[in-house]
């Protein structure tokens, strides 16, 4: 099963991050085609391609662009490069290897949406990527791919970079906007949605790095070509970060609908020491884990949802049979406890209690009632928290109990015997 390299075709080319090298690979070639079209036509193309947001929610990108409040200016484009989901490192690959691809994608989006100012919000730790991007922006400006009257098209566009301060919550689009405005990074009430009232209360498009990087392909090759790949509702390719107990962890660009089995055993070389697969988390730490017997699930939005999980940000975390699931769940619960912004009660207090109970069970102080209490807390957070962070925190805990209650019981039993 080969990869489908629509975005990463030249990713290993030396110095691809430099403009001259990028141009050799045909970079910025989409702009000539772009400026021949009317903005609305570009939105229609993206709609026709079936491209869906690669940040986690999978919302159709073209539709999102068309929701922008009419006739309200200025408007903004924010690229969400706050890639913080544990297990996910595909945006980093694009940012560090091919920053000009993102710029090219952002120009297309801005042109389609009549936006003159764009921001790239980097995860706080992405200093290197941000430095590379600043260089790339400088090069692009010098060649008039950015700035006033781009390539004589009459279209003006400028991009600014911004480094976050290391909060997971700022990957949530409205918290990102707050942070970008200099406020505390915490989610905003929706509605109003960013398309109506976003950055500085103006209509705003927020897209993930990978989503924007797909756009030049669609302009160059046409939406039909892109839509010819993938499944009925999940079109095109997807960058998947495979991590955990595999022999060859890394980023793989696959056609939507490739099975998880192919991803693990063919692309990633199988499980370490040829151990047995126990579970996998398909879309980053916030998506519910699935047991080994669901390994033939096709990797696309619908199939993973049908299996009880999500494609999320496209990070496949593989867990082999050498692991007690409570331990991995505790690690994830600790992450969410640390990253809850503290705004709403269920997430702030609930993530702490989940962690505390799991820690107790893990340390040999657990009881069966505590597992029930965990289930109860999951129910109290799930769809009750202010933003999806709470739901994300529930994902690993609830699914670990659902599929691997025996791991909990084994620990409880050992504890009971130990104390006796």
């Amino acid at each position: 099963m080969p990869e489908l390299k629509l975005l990463t075709k030249d990713i290993d080319k030396k110095d691809l991050h430099k403009l001259s090298v990028y141009e050799e690979t045909g970079g910025y070639g989409s702009l000539k085609k772009l400026f021949k079209k009317k903005p609305d036509e570009v939105i229609e193309m993206v709609k026709a391609s079936g491209l869906r947001g690669r940040g986690g929610a999978g919302f159709p990108a073209g539709l999102k662009w068309s929701f922008l409040a009419k006739d309200v200016f200025p408007r903004y484009l924010c690229c969400n490069a706050d890639e913080s989901e544990p297990g996910t490192c595909k945006d980093r690959l694009l940012l560090e290897k091919t920053p000009h691809l993102l710029i090219e994608g952002m120009i297309a989006c801005a042109y389609a949406c009549k936006i003159e100012t764009g921001y790239i919000y980097f995860r706080g730790e992405f200093q290197h990527a941000s430095d590379l991007m600043d260089e790339a922006l400088k090069e692009a400006r010098a060649k008039n791919y950015l700035g006033k009257n781009i390539m004589g098209s009459g279209f003006d566009f400028e991009i600014h970079t911004h480094l976050g301060a290391g909060a997971y919550i700022c990957g949530e689009e409205s918290a990102l906007l707050n942070s970008l405005e200099g406020r505390r990074g915490e989610p905003r009430l929706k509605p109003p949605f960013p398309a109506v009232e976003g950055l500085y209360s103006k209509p705003t498009v927020i897209n993930n790095v990978e989503t924007l990087c797909v756009v030049p392909y669609i302009i160059n090759e046409g939406p039909e070509k892109y839509a010819s790949y993938g499944t009925e509702k999940s079109k095109g390719s997807k960058l998947v970060s495979v991590s955990g107990h595999v022999k060859k962890p890394g980023n793989y660009e696959i056609e939507m609908g490739t099975t998880v089995r192919e991803l693990i055993y063919e692309l990633a070389g199988g499980i370490r020491n040829d151990n047995k697969l126990k579970a996998y988390i398909p879309g980053g730490s916030s998506t519910p884990m699935l047991p080994a017997d669901l390994v033939d699930t096709p990797y696309d939005y619908e199939s993973l949802a049908a299996a009880g999980s999500m494609l999320g940000s496209g990070a496949l975390i593989v867990i082999d049979d050498q692991v007690n699931i409570v331990e991995s769940t505790l690690r994830l619960a600790s992450f969410y406890k640390h990253e809850s912004c503290g705004k709403c009660t269920p997430c702030r207090e609930g993530t702490r209690w989940m962690w505390q109970l799991l820690d107790g069970i893990h340390n040999g102080e657990g009881t069966n009632q505590q597992v029930d209490k965990l289930v109860d807390i999951c129910d109290n957070i799930s769809f009750k928290s202010f933003c999806p962070l709470g739901d994300a925190a529930v994902g690993p805990v609830a699914s670990s109990i659902k599929y691997f209650r025996e791991d909990y019981e084994a620990l409880l039993k050992r504890n009971a015997e130990g104390t006796a």
Binding site: K343, R348, N380, S385
Partner: protein, 859 residues
């Protein structure tokens, strides 16, 4: 009400039919219909935050069942709302349960005990057994500022304080710190709180995490006696809640219950923390007689007898008109009414006045002209629904802080557009999408207002044909506006015609407009011209546009309006009946102090005022008081004025008296005693009664409510006003006389070469009148008087922050500490007034209008 019309939605709550305007959230309607819905982070005055997650209700709509949070979910046509179900209770309880695990539960010593939403919600959900292990926090209290204690162990991170600080006050002194379980509230970098000290954060805090340190009272607030009364400081007329314990005033709080007052539970630093004037050893303890420069205690009977005798002999010797009284902008309506009655009926003198009317007698006429032109002001409770607010020469955060609160609320919920016109570039932060700031040259107020009128006409922004039809002297107005050209206005105000055109366009749109006029207008030397121009502006918008115009005359103190309503003026009897109908009199009180100084007035009775520090010119007051043969002063504290008296009578504070006061927007409101009159003091009402008795013709109306009844019968506009309902008095029996007020054009006077700077003086954010300096809490946050100058002037005179400034006028000079403030324009010196150590009114040299001064560094 805003001109935007919202559709009415029909739905049910627990089976009962209900209606609300579209967009209304479930929680708001449910509360309105009397249903109890658990919630911790909702406050009607603030934007929904939806963080506590304890207000879940079930809704059924279009055949679908949904669990929603009632603080953010709007009602929809045909929706069924069910407030309590097993499910909603379970989920709401879970959150409260988790909050209680960390909460100290030190209720017996908590400020909010008994009035605590956390307690109430726990009770409402019948939450009893905690399922989680108790994990109390135990962090020390933070007391790094003089007034607000942070005891964050009790904090439930509802964010109400943070939002109140931002949305109600526009200050943003508080925000969240940290995240997750460590999330808490605090100041930037944990620096000591340095803000407007409005204490809104204390009011909205549901748990006693923020406490008022001006009071030692702790615990079971529900057991304190609460008295709602009207604040005695500025003329906004906020209702304050006096908390008393064993006949002692322990604290002032605010009641946010709808309908309690016009201020929705908002207060300012003065109103909330300025209660130190009540129980205070510096109060005058007994009647005092001046014996050769020293004051000796005397008995009340003796003192009253002495005044009565002196009055009689003066009347016999010099005629009744040689007796004059200065009524007070701080006394109640009933007291002022009896005071003027004492003069008019008992003494037979019409020589009664008040400080505002002395300085700006045209304000009453302006108000009456508004009535005659059909410009009525809507109740101030509707200010938050105005579409456009023009704040004209008022530094709202200092002058009417709570007015600012209403306007900010309007900006959020009504989309009020705010136009801020002021010579100083003062802070007024709010969420309005349109904020026009007109920072114009000092004293150019009338140019600005007249130019706006002219633009409305020239640009056809109002329907001039309609105006012409309704207002007979329209052509006179047009002619009188000829000098207000774009160029002349630019020269005088510094504003471009584009700015003014944008302003005029905003004002002319179909909208409900409110016009708040600051008291600074009266100090420009062209107060009358400015007010008339603003009236003309209002008439143009009213007659030639759509929507409404509300306009409020400038009034400074809590009863500046009422003292004039009560006829404590030489021009008008109670209810603005012209005096000449009833009296033949010499007009001495118009120039009260001058006529004391020149010997025409032989007997002066000052009730509760300190003109030595409060009146615009100190020198004339000093001459008057030194000359007048007999001076009685009744007051709470030994003021500069009292020191010059022959006889001093100690009076009661607002917390000890009964009556009514009338605010700047003509709401007549109750003053209710919370504690008995302290020590040997007497209420002003009682003193006037004693005097009338001693004169042998007692007043018929005895109690304060009897006097109010008499006022109702005397003043038609007061006839149906119920002070308990915070109602406005409405003009009654006014004959419509539509007319523009035409003033001749006169160019602004240039500064004199020697005294090239202009002085601006008004009330400090933490001080108003002569009492606040006796309140420890207020002197703790506003201890020093600072003159403020522009960086350019500082540079020119080589001055830096902290220098002592020598301010000289042709009359006098004074020394004052200074700081540089870029909000103050070049060429202006700003010095707060009423400061005991800095008698800024001494600089005036007799002429009207702005005082010209020069500055230098004092060695």
């Amino acid at each position: 009400m805003s001109v935007t019309v919202r559709e009415t939605i029909n739905f049910t709550i627990d089976g009962k039919p209900a209606t609300a305007p579209e967009g209304t959230i479930i929680l708001e309607v449910a509360q309105k219909y009397g249903f109890e819905v658990t919630n911790l982070c909702y406050n009607k005055k603030l934007k929904p935050f939806a963080a506590c997650r304890t207000c879940m209700v079930e809704v059924r709509h279009n055949g679908k069942k949904e669990l929603v949070y009632s603080c953010t979910h709007p009602v929809a046509e045909g929706m069924e709302v069910i407030i309590h179900t097993e499910e909603t209770d379970r989920y709401n309880s879970a959150n409260i349960e988790m909050l209680l695990v960390e909460h100290p539960l030190d209720c017996p010593i908590c400020d909010k005990s008994g009035v605590c939403p956390l307690q109430d919600n726990t009770e409402l959900l019948e939450l009893q057994k905690p399922r989680f292990e108790i994990q109390r926090r135990n962090e020390p209290s933070i007391k790094t500022n003089p007034l607000i204690e942070f005891y964050l162990n009790r904090c439930i991170v509802c964010g109400l304080c943070v939002r109140a600080c931002d949305e109600i006050q526009g200050v943003q002194a508080l925000d969240f710190h940290q995240r997750g379980m460590k999330a808490s509230i605090g100041t930037a970098n944990d620096e000591p709180l340095d803000c407007e000290f409005c204490g809104q954060c204390i009011t909205v805090c549901p748990t006693g995490a923020l406490m008022d340190m001006s009071s030692d009272a702790r615990g079971l607030a529900a057991l304190f006696k609460n008295t709602n009364t009207t604040c005695s400081y500025c003329s906004w007329g906020c209702t304050v809640q006096l908390e008393t314990k064993k006949n002692k005033l322990v604290r002032i709080t605010a009641d946010e219950t709808p309908g309690v007052g016009i201020n929705e539970g908002n207060l300012c630093a003065k109103g909330r923390f300025g209660h130190g004037i009540v129980h205070n050893d510096e109060r005058i303890q007994s009647p005092l007689i001046n014996q050769g420069g020293t004051f000796q205690e005397i008995g009340w009977d003796e003192a009253i007898e002495m005044i009565a005798e002196r009055a009689k002999t003066t009347i016999n010797r010099n005629g009744a008109e040689s007796l004059a009284g200065l009524a007070s902008e701080k006394l109640t309506n009933e007291e002022n009414y009896l005071f003027q009655k004492l003069f008019r009926n008992n003494y037979g003198s019409n020589q009664i006045n008040n400080l505002q009317n002395l300085q700006a007698p045209y304000v009453n006429d302006f108000m009456l002209n508004c009535f005659e032109n059909g410009i009525e002001s809507k109740p101030v409770t509707e200010l938050d629904q105005a579409d456009v607010v023009l704040i004209f020469n008022s530094d709202l955060p200092s002058e009417y802080p709570v007015g600012g609160n209403s306007i900010r609320k309007g900006a959020i919920f009504t989309g009020t557009r705010v136009i801020f016109a002021n010579p100083r570039n003062m802070r007024f932060d709010h969420e309005s999408r349109i904020d026009i700031r007109l920072i114009y040259n000092q004293d150019a107020d009338f140019m600005l207002a007249n130019r706006l009128c002219r633009i409305l006409i020239d640009e056809n922004l109002v329907d001039t044909a309609k105006v012409q039809e309704q207002i007979p002297n329209f052509n006179d107005l047009v002619a009188s506006l000829a000098p207000y050209t774009a160029d002349a206005t630019k020269k005088a105000t510094g504003l471009t015609n584009e700015q003014l055109k944008r302003t005029a366009t905003q004002l002319a749109e179909k909208a409900d407009r409110a016009l708040i006029i600051g008291n600074d207008v009266l100090n420009t030397g062209k107060g009358k011209e400015t007010l008339n121009a603003l009236l003309n502006l209002a008439i143009l918008l009213n007659a030639g546009g759509e929507g409404s115009v509300s306009i409020y005359p400038p009034r400074e103190h809590c009863n500046s309006q009422g003292v004039n309503d009560m006829g404590a003026t030489p021009q008008y009897l109670p209810g603005y009946r012209p005096v000449n109908d009833a009296f033949e009199h010499e007009n001495l009180a118009d120039e009260l102090f001058e006529n004391c100084a020149n010997g025409k007035i032989k007997f002066l009775h000052i009730a509760g005022e300190d003109p030595m520090t409060s009146y615009k010119s100190r020198s004339i007051v000093e001459q008057a008081l030194d000359t007048v043969p007999f001076l009685v002063v009744q007051d709470i504290y030994m003021s500069e004025t009292a020191r010059k008296a022959n006889l001093i009578l100690p009076t009661a504070t607002f917390a000890e008296k009964e009556g009514t006061v009338t605010n700047m927007t003509r709401h007549v409101q109750k003053v209710v005693p919370a504690i008995p009159v302290q020590g040997k003091a007497k209420s002003d009402l009682e003193i006037f009664h004693n005097l009338a008795d001693a004169l042998g013709s007692p007043f018929k109306s005895k109690s304060s409510s009897d006097v109010l009844e008499e006022i109702r019968q005397t003043i038609p506009a007061y006839k149906d006003v119920d002070p308990a309902r915070h109602e406005q008095w409405k003009p009654s029996g006014v004959t419509a006389k539509p007319a523009f007020q035409i003033c001749a054009f006169e160019e602004l006077k240039a500064s004199k070469r020697d005294f090239s700077m202009k002085l601006l003086t008004n009330n400090h954010m933490f001080h108003i009148g002569s009492y606040t300096h006796f309140s420890k809490a207020l002197t703790d946050i506003g201890p020093d008087c600072f003159a403020e100058i522009n960086p350019k002037d500082a540079k020119k005179s080589e001055l830096v922050n902290g220098d002592t400034l020598l301010v000289e006028s042709s009359q006098a000079n004074l020394k004052v500490q200074m700081k540089i403030n870029p909000a103050v324009p070049a060429g202006m010196v700003y010095i707060p007034k009423n400061w005991p150590e800095v008698p800024v009114n001494a600089l005036r040299n007799g002429e009207d209008g702005t005082v010209h001064v020069k500055i230098s560094k004092s060695e």
